[in-house]
């Protein structure tokens, strides 16, 4: 991949219906020596979400955490938004939570994460919008693009639910429209401590 890839400080990922399966494929593809942080919003019914760490930690090369308010953002860690809170990147940068009303019928909302990350990371951000019903994430993707970040959308035909990727693509001309397979290769090509 080209030169901009080398300065990625964070990857933000948004997913809804079908998201667990999609994430179970792409997150384990991240190398253990990744030099960027990974922030994930996944819509889930409230009770199910706290199992995320148990599901993903054993399968990933990077430590997986559910966010506690004002957590520092460590390179080489995967952070999940906790159930029923919005997740935002705050100045510092650190992670912040909010109980503001749902956005696009969602809390956590993908757009809230993407927009706040775009404001802090600007061009050093990679945003990935995956499968899901609804249209959460589309306006966030636009914010990422405006701030100069890189946008990736899962190919709607490859998504269990195409609506979220389609809504994203209706809003922006994404840098890449990829299958999960391609996203896995992209992740493996991202910068890591050994070869920054």
């Amino acid at each position: 991949m080209g030169a901009p890839m080398r300065s990625i400080a964070a990857v933000v990922i948004g997913a809804s219906t079908g998201g667990v399966e999609a994430l179970l494929r792409i997150l384990p593809a991240l190398r253990g020596d990744a030099s960027f942080s990974v922030l994930v919003v996944l819509h889930l019914p409230r009770e199910r979400s706290s199992l995320l760490v148990e599901i993903f930690a054993p399968r990933c090369n990077l430590p997986v955490r559910e966010v506690l308010d004002k957590d520092p953002i460590l390179a080489g860690s995967i952070y999940f938004a906790p159930p029923d809170y919005h997740l935002l990147v705050d100045d510092g940068p650190c992670l912040a939570l909010s109980m503001d009303p749902p956005v696009e019928h969602s809390r956590p909302s993908v757009s809230v994460l993407f927009e706040s990350a775009a404001a802090v990371y600007g061009p050093h951000l990679l945003a990935v919008l995956l499968t899901g019903a609804g249209s959460d994430g589309a306006s966030g993707l636009q914010a990422v693009q405006r701030a100069g970040g890189m946008t990736v959308v899962q190919h709607p035909a490859n998504a269990r639910m195409p609506q979220m990727p389609e809504a994203g693509l209706a809003r922006v001309t994404a840098d890449h429209v990829l299958t999960l397979e391609d996203i896995m290769s992209l992740f493996q090509a991202l910068p890591c401590a050994g070869r920054a």
């Binding site: 300065s7 990625i8 400080a9 030099s35 960027f36 966010v67 506690l68 308010d69 004002k70 390179a75 906790p82 809170y85 919005h86 935002l88 990147v89 705050d90 100045d91 940068p93 650190c94 912040a96 939570l97 909010s98 109980m99 503001d100 009303p101 809230v112 927009e115 706040s116 404001a119 802090v120 990371y121 600007g122 061009p123 050093h124 910068p191 920054a196």
Partner: protein
């Protein structure tokens, strides 16, 4: 990679706006978490039809009405009765037995919003037979939220969720014993209300006003940066009696408090702490 861009025009404008609010209206949002503030100011700009925060600031400085409206954007009024039932269950099963040993009880609900947490606490204390010797101070900075809390009127559509939460919190009575229904509203019983004092108090600028046995401050600290969280936690430390209890939101922590070591985990999963000596 430490790739943090220099402050943008938006950032500078936001900083100036909160300074202006502080100087003119004495509400201090200077140490609030920026990201949420930025989002909510975006919504406020759309509401007021302003193209920039500077334009909004201009109107704010000249029109007091604008500030009253803006305050609804600056603070977020979201709450539920018995929100996180497990928290109230832990209070009931683990904290109440110790609260019983006090001849009279004072409890501080900080950031009470429209009153749900205060009414939940009053109902819990009534069920445990402690309400008659209790006084609940419920404080917030949003005057319209405090007025709604005082009225004790809630949307009837929320009652099924409230009832389910109350049941899951270990509630022994029927929630309907505590309110009367009127059209699409329910009104909480004056006998609960008598034990609650709602008042204006800011964790950012005010000081301690009473000694209490329990502080419950949930989902308020998340809106603060680390320094302001530390200030708020100092107030709670000061307000609490020896061996008093502090409950916070499920995804909040005490780690930025200078007194973090003076609080022992009491009900870990439910984020309830006890003040210890030292």
């Amino acid at each position: 990679m430490n790739a943090v861009p220099p402050p943008s025009v938006d950032d500078v404008e936001l900083r100036l706006l909160v300074e202006a609010i502080y100087h003119v209206y004495h509400y201090d949002f200077r140490s609030y978490a920026r990201a949420s503030l930025r989002r909510r100011m975006g919504a406020a700009m759309a509401h007021f039809g302003c193209r920039s925060l500077s334009e909004l600031q201009g109107r704010l400085l000249r029109e007091a009405d604008v500030f009253t409206e803006l305050l609804e954007y600056l603070t977020v009024q979201v709450s539920d009765l018995f929100r996180d039932p497990g928290y109230f269950r832990a209070l009931r099963e683990k904290v109440v037995p110790l609260l019983r040993t006090y001849p009279s009880l004072k409890i501080w609900i900080a950031g009470c919003s429209t009153g749900e947490e205060a009414y939940s606490m009053a109902i819990l204390l009534r069920e445990e037979g402690l309400l008659d010797r209790s006084l609940i101070y419920a404080t917030d900075i949003n005057p319209s939220a405090l007025r709604r809390a005082e009225a004790g009127v809630f949307d009837a559509a929320k009652v099924p969720d409230f009832t389910a939460n109350h049941r899951r919190s270990g509630g022994r009575s029927s929630l309907s014993d505590y309110y009367s229904a009127a059209y699409d509203r329910v009104i909480f019983d004056k006998r609960l209300r008598r034990h609650i004092v709602f008042s204006d108090h800011s964790l950012a600028t005010d000081s301690v006003f009473a000694e209490v046995q329990l502080v419950s401050c949930r989902n308020v600290l998340i809106y603060f940066n680390r320094e302001l969280q530390s200030r708020a936690l100092d107030l709670f430390y000061e307000a609490l009696c020896r061996k008093g209890f502090l409950g916070i939101g499920l995804r909040e922590s005490l780690r930025f408090s200078s007194h973090a070591d003076s609080f022992a985990e009491f009900a870990r999963e439910d984020r309830i702490y006890q003040k210890v000596d030292g």
